[in-house]
């Protein structure tokens, strides 16, 4: 995984602030591959309580600002089971 401990803590704090302290987070995509360089930070979140649109947008903006990196944030929607959710959990790393 190509994130520092500080970056992981930053991600946890920002997401828990917007989506509840028990929100579950996975890093997936190119940042889990140690042989690659750069790349966006792809995150999948199962929130404690489903955030509204504004909270989700603010969370993404706060993450991008804090990390100074492009962030792609996928938030599980209640009652939906999209293939990307399974892919993120299977190929990703829980933070």
């Amino acid at each position: 995984m190509r994130l520092t401990a500080d970056q992981v803590e930053t991600i946890r704090q920002r997401i828990q602030r917007h989506m509840g302290p028990h929100a579950r987070i996975w890093l997936f995509g190119s940042r889990v591959d140690d042989s690659r360089r750069g790349g966006d930070v792809d995150l999948y979140v199962e929130p404690e309580t489903p955030p509204g649109l504004v909270a989700r947008l603010r969370c993404k903006s706060a993450l991008a600002d804090a990390l100074d990196l492009n962030v792609d944030l996928i938030v599980q929607q209640p009652g939906r089971d999209l293939p990307i959710y399974r892919l993120a959990k299977q190929s990703g790393v829980a933070l």
């Binding site: 649109l53 603010r58 600002d65 929607q77 939906r80």
Partner: protein, 152 residues
């Protein structure tokens, strides 16, 4: 007038035209927002939503570029857009950098995550109509600053 100021004038004129189109799109979309069932929208209604999405996005993007040009004219740091936003906040062109970033994220989301879930789609458009007056006000303040500061 310098070439750079002429360029800013052209950008402001373009934004003024875009503002009219965006305001028209809002009028077209508002009645659609009142509908409870978005599953049965007509092709014409989808067309109105699509036009609004494009006009909102283009206006936000063009306004951001014009703000950067004004910051450049004032010899501010424009390498990072955050610095441009901080300067625009000081000029009171934008209410806050946070609000601008929310609108920018909304623009990105509505273009890259275009929703097929009608309830979520309606949520996107409701927020866009709510934020449109904010964008229009930012433009008015930027134009006002340019008129006062540069006489353009």
């Amino acid at each position: 007038m310098t070439e750079h100021l002429k360029l800013i004038r052209i950008k402001l004129d373009h934004l003024a035209r875009m503002r009219e189109y965006l305001a028209y799109s809002v009028l077209q979309v508002e009645p659609i927002l009142l509908l409870k069932d978005w599953k049965a929208l007509s092709p014409g209604q989808h067309e109105s939503l699509a036009a609004f999405r494009v006009r909102f996005s283009e206006f936000q993007e063009h306004l951001g570029k014009t703000m950067r040009s004004v910051a450049m004219e004032e010899e501010q740091d424009v390498e990072r857009f955050g610095a441009v936003l901080a300067f625009m906040e000081r000029l009171q062109v934008i209410g806050s950098a946070e609000q601008w970033k929310l609108i920018r994220e909304l623009r990105n989301a509505v273009n890259h995550e275009y929703e097929h879930d009608t309830a979520r789609l309606a949520e996107f458009f409701e927020l866009m109509t709510k934020e449109t007056p904010v964008l229009l006000e930012c433009f008015s303040r930027l134009a006002e600053h340019c008129a006062k500061a540069y006489g353009i």
